[in-house]
């Protein structure tokens, strides 16, 4: 059995940052990065717009914190946010020292751009391929550390838990089909989000909530799973992301009449140039909700893949588009046969990000001993009910590093592997063989179950939700989980069996879908990205609290609440595009 001090599940931005952090705590600690894809394939690669950290004069940490907290509709833990904005600049500079090719000012300083929901310009960017450059810089830097061992294309199927602490994982080596236990003193989940639970998403095929489901099954609660972010500008059909930076550089959102409809939804008055925290630079939840209201009014356009509106960049000119948004132009030309220099881009809201995730504290530690989580897979929480664009790339650095350090400290305590671990690993191997590899006669095709799950999630747990629809989804997901027992597996081979991994991913997604629906049903208020038509008001009396959902075998999941940590910013009104009402005395 291979054995390591710290084991990471997932090799994206958070995972690689954590791996480096462990090595820097103690180069003698052995680190394993276990990832179902080669690290540079991880979905961090698709992030476009930028990464926020206060760096310029005239900006302040408090303003970044306030933007984040108000953007999150006061669901963020303010101690976590304060720590986050405080450590953000250091992490970003560290990445600069590791070679990330940040866009620059003429004098050689790092350049920043405006971004949705941010009152000041503080979003660092590498043109519009920020995530790509960050991931490659992290990956290439990680190659320098000898203590980091990689398990590329190993698919984790289970956490090994004994004596109340996690002690490793069971994983399938895709190349050979070997099912292998790998033990470790600390395990960090960095598996990203779960956009593929929904049909239209900017997320890659690999984003199936693996880590969330692994933790959930091990008894660790998931937090704030009802908060699913829709990005207002994805391409119809493919869901390809058209970055928020396109609006930050001055793009307009137009309805079918060519009207900047956001002005009708309390997001400010249209100006020719972008205004921070206003109109197209409002937060993502509000923009996606405005789209739905336009749809209700019949003012959207109709295409073969459903309703859409237009993103207009034509007035920016070729030069700005080519220097600041080259990838947007490339994507439009390649995938839509549209040139944004002269044509309007069709866009619609698409599922983009999971505010919720594995419940952790500000060190990235979960309630289960030795288990940590970071990045989109985790919920610290700094994103609250709605994440601001460009906070997530920074989050994976700040909390990736913190989780890495905490996991390293934990590993240094040196507890031996429990005797029962090997038996547990053997059980898992038998389970995989029984349920998938040796199973025949299944009747439920994977794609069928997945499609049904995605459509019920879009219908019931989308931008607007109701109790009735959520109850329908609750029953449907339970039914799908039951039917999954009869999943049809044609491929019983060992070598690179992607039908097996697709089935396992579907089982993860069904668990995550269950958690999302359960939390959404229990939260009878509207806040940030969670909008209940039957409960349209925010309810700070009842719900200024995080949902914690726990898995119960053979029963409905249990939902509990944990109060939000408020330090300096009492809950207030979210104001965009106009002056705020004076704060109440007190």
């Amino acid at each position: 059995m291979p054995s390591h001090d710290v084991l990471l599940v997932g090799g994206g931005g958070a995972g690689l940052r954590a791996a480096i952090a462990v090595s820097e705590v103690d180069p003698n600690l052995s680190v394993a990065v276990v990832s179902k894809v080669y690290p540079m394939r991880s979905h961090t690669v698709s992030a476009e717009g930028g990464s926020a950290a206060v760096i310029k004069e005239g900006d302040s940490l408090d303003e970044h914190a306030y933007d984040t907290i108000s953007g999150g509709d006061w669901m963020c833990d303010q101690d976590a946010v304060e720590l986050f904005v405080n450590e953000a600049p250091g992490e970003m500079l560290q990445l600069e020292h590791w070679g990330c090719p940040w866009s620059r000012e003429p004098d050689g300083r790092v350049a920043v751009r405006p971004f949705g929901g941010m009152k000041k310009e503080r979003t660092w960017f590498a043109a519009d391929k920020t995530g790509f450059h960050m991931l490659h810089a992290l990956f290439q830097t990680s190659l320098k550390y000898r203590s980091i061992a990689r398990y590329d294309e190993w698919f984790v199927t289970r956490l090994l838990v004994e004596d109340g602490r996690v002690q490793g994982v069971v994983a399938i080596e895709l190349m050979t089909g070997k099912i292998q236990a790998i033990t470790a003193k600390s395990v960090i989940l960095c598996t990203g989000g779960c956009g593929k639970v929904f049909p239209f998403t900017t997320n890659a095929n690999i984003k199936n909530g693996d880590g969330m489901a692994l933790a959930y099954r091990a008894g660790v609660p998931l937090k704030d799973m009802e908060f699913v972010q829709y990005h207002p500008t994805g391409l119809p059909f493919t869901g390809i992301l058209i970055t928020e930076a396109s609006r930050a550089e001055g793009g307009f959102l137009l309805n079918k009449d060519g009207y900047r409809y956001l002005q009708d939804y309390d997001l400010g008055t249209p100006q020719p140039k972008p205004v921070l925290r206003s109109m197209e630079l409002g937060p993502r939840d509000r923009l996606s909700q405005a789209f739905m209201k336009e749809l209700d009014k019949g003012r959207t356009l109709e295409g073969p893949y459903g309703p859409y509106v237009h993103l207009d960049l034509t007035h920016l000119g070729k030069k700005i588009i080519d220097t600041k948004l080259p990838f947007v132009r490339e994507l439009c030309l390649k995938y839509e046969n549209i040139d944004p220099v002269s044509e309007l881009i069709p866009v619609r809201p698409v599922v983009h990000y999971m505010m919720g995730g594995v419940h952790t504290d500000i060190q990235g530690a979960t309630p289960l001993g030795g288990l940590f989580a970071a990045g989109e897979a985790a919920c610290v929480s700094i994103n609250g009910a709605n994440r601001l664009g460009s906070n997530s790339l920074t989050e994976l650095l700040v909390f990736g590093a913190r989780a890495g350090q905490a996991a390293a400290e934990h590993a240094l305590q040196d507890k031996p592997v429990s005797a029962g671990i090997e038996a547990q690993a053997a059980d898992e191997k038998k389970r995989l063989e029984r349920e998938f590899l040796h199973k025949s006669g299944g009747t439920e095709p994977i794609a069928g179950l997945r499609g049904e799950m995605q459509s019920i999630m879009e219908k019931s747990a989308g931008i607007y939700r109701t109790g009735t629809l959520l109850e329908e989804a609750q029953a449907k997901v339970a039914e799908l989980k039951e039917r999954f027992r009869q999943v049809a597996i044609q491929d019983h081979s060992h070598t690179f069996n992607t039908e097996l991994t697709a089935a396992l991913e579907l089982s993860y997604m069904l668990d995550v879908a269950e958690a999302v629906v359960e939390c959404a049903l229990h939260r009878t208020e509207s806040r940030g990205a969670h909008q209940r038509i039957d409960f349209p008001q925010r309810d700070d009396e009842g719900f200024l609290a995080h949902s914690l959902v726990s898995h119960r075998p053979d029963d409905r999941p249990k939902v509990e609440y944990l109060p939000v940590t408020i330090t300096r910013w009492p809950p207030g009104e979210r104001v965009y595009g106009r002056a705020a009402a004076p704060a109440p005395p007190g």
Binding site: M175, T176, K178, H494, T495
Partner: protein, 139 residues
């Protein structure tokens, strides 16, 4: 032909596709690659000629005359002609490669490839003209 290797559980059995003998005929760039590889034979041939020439030069005027007569052999003329074509081919390859090897920038903007390659050709023409001038003057 070797019998196929049997699969053993958990041991990958990779397939290595055999490169077809005429793979280079598929594409002009591949064909050029093969021609450049092939040119080494003719370059070697030319080196031998050069060595023989030196040897003849050392042997005095008669030996050198004999060497020159030998060069008139049609086979040698053809071989030398081919060598010359290959050398030309290499020259053009190198000239066109210059803009790749040297990213010349003027006021922050990269010069177009044509502008970097062109001086090579100009210099080539100038040198050739000089050689022609020298040869015709003596003749």
């Amino acid at each position: 032909m070797k019998p196929p290797v049997a699969y053993r559980q958990y041991h990958p059995k990779w397939h290595r596709t055999r490169v077809s003998t005429f793979w280079w005929s598929r594409k002009w760039s591949y064909l050029k690659f093969m021609l450049r590889e092939l040119s080494s034979v003719f370059v070697a041939f030319y080196v031998v000629i050069l060595l023989l020439q030196l040897h003849a030069l050392r042997g005095g005027p008669d030996a050198y005359q004999g060497f020159q007569d030998w060069l008139r052999n049609p086979l040698l003329v053809i071989l030398n002609g081919i060598s010359f074509l290959f050398v030309l081919f290499h020259a053009v390859t190198w000239f066109n490669l210059t803009p790749k090897a040297m990213a010349v920038r003027l006021r922050g903007k990269r010069l177009p490839d044509v502008l970097v390659a062109a001086p090579n050709y100009v210099a080539w023409l100038a040198v050739s003209a000089l050689v022609v001038f020298l040869l015709t003057r003596q003749g």
